[in-house]
């Protein structure tokens, strides 16, 4: 039920994002989903990739600070109110969403949203009980 995401610390200066994507491209790593959170000074690039180890080795080799985090990929009906339905469930169980972003591709008729929760285990249990489908990492990396 859990998906491994890698996060990269990037200073807010021109060319850094291009640098990261080039390193990953050269290493033959494919980016499956991404989000960039930024402040005026720095950003955090979060990625789901097809090969985490290769991606981390390549980025660390170039001096980037990288870490691995566990996130949850949830299938959400790709229709009006789809996202709201899942957020209502989380809210009613007081599960906090640290951040979220959408997956690049759809999975059948559903969209895929990546969530980072404050209580990952609890979130998974709640979502499963409410009938939401969560994708296994292995499936996601290869989509």
């Amino acid at each position: 039920m859990m998906v491994e995401q890698i996060s990269i610390f990037i200073e807010n200066k021109s060319g850094r994002l291009a640098e990261v994507s080039k390193i990953l491209g050269d290493a033959g790593v494919n980016i499956r989903a991404l989000s960039l959170a930024d402040t005026s000074d720095f950003g955090i690039l979060r990625l789901i990739v097809n090969d985490r180890d290769k991606a981390m080795a390549a980025l660390k080799g170039k001096g980037f600070t990288v870490n691995k985090t566990v996130v949850v990929a949830v299938e959400v009906p790709d229709q009006p109110g789809g996202l709201a339905s899942i957020l209502q469930v989380l809210d009613s169980e007081t599960i906090n969403v640290e951040y979220m972003y959408a997956f690049v591709e759809r999975c059948g008729s559903n969209a895929v949203i990546i969530f980072r929760f404050d209580e990952t285990e609890k979130a998974i249990a709640v979502l499963a009980a409410k009938g939401f489908n969560m994708l296994e990492g292995e499936r996601l990396y290869g989509i």
Binding site: S7, F9, E11, T39, I44, G63, T65, N67, R116
Partner: protein, 435 residues
Amino acid sequence: MTTYFNEEFETLPRTALEALQLMRLKSAVERVYNNVPFYRTAYDSAGIRPDTITSLEDLQRLPFTTKQNMRDSYPYGLFAVPMEEIVRIHASSGTTGKPTVVGYTRKDISNWADLMARSLVTASVHKGDIIHNAYGYGLFTGGLGAHYGAEQLGASVIPISGGNTKRQIMIMEDFSSTVLTCTPSYSLFLAEEAKAGGVDFRNLKLRVGIFGAEPWSESMRSEIEAKLNLTALDIYGLSEIMGPGVAQECFEGKCGLHIWEDHFIPEIINPETGERVAEGEKGELVITTITKQGIPLIRYRTRDITSITYEPCVCGRTHARIARMSGRSDDMMIIRGVNVFPSQIESILVRIEGVEPHYLLIVDRKENLDTLEVQVEVDEQIFSDEIKVLQGLSKRIEKEIKDMLGVTCTVKLVEPKTIQRSEGKAQRVIDKRAL
């Protein structure tokens, strides 16, 4: 026409001044040898007996005293009199851990007041002047030093201390202050605030400003004089030696600060070799106090870089002049009047992270106030995928630095290996202030 606070001593012919210095030096060396174990040990191991000091040249045979010696003797180890004779205690500004502590006897306080009054007169201040004293009061010597000098002179002193800028401007206006004493950067901050509040300094009575406690430049003097509509003069002092009033620029000459040689013997040395440099050459200022009782210091290394001239001055004072301080021979920074060593910031970072992070301190001056940016490299130990965690870290470092050092800073998190590594001693400070 020049007036003096103590004409006899201020205009003492050179030969008489040197004779007085020698007499007082011998007595000072004798006193520290007899009363301070630190000096006795140092002189014994160097094979120096106080009675072998027979000329001013002999001063060079004595070992230096350093800030570290003072820290090692914390708090009272270098005091030369019993505590019941100490009537006041001050400490160096802002430093964490062990500050340098100084004690004054009643006589020390009265000498200080005299020298500060002398400095005020040197800056053309007289009885009848109203002195707006915005140096901080407290352990820092600035506020009380200037205050006692003003009272000794018989001028009216307003002990406003620092901060609360809007109120300061109102008081300067309403109380018809004629003299301003504060740090040079604060004077410009006052000017900005006054302008924002619609107060024009041309309508104020301020005539002269006496600025010290931090490095400033000739161009800053022009700016202050234009913005505050007064004559800006430099004052020098340090708590270890006394406080403000060790040296003062004269109104007439406005070229170098007269160092009061009847109480202090100045030397300029090469900070690497310890040898004296020639008159006019830049080097580190070393001061020997020859009248102090509480904590006399022999050949104290100030770490301040300056030069000295014995050329006669237009004001008629015979005391040598030291140039405006142009830097430090150690890595201490003076930020808004507060002494900051990079090692202090390093110890805060180590405590927060549990690792020795690479960091860089960038000092600048924006809108006339010193700014400090602390760049910290983000490694895997401190990195998080959540913005709020990293921002929390920045805030925490900012708060710790503010709490420990009293200096406001901004923390900037940067990528690893972006702070330049150097082969030798790490470059920890970039000072962009154009001084």
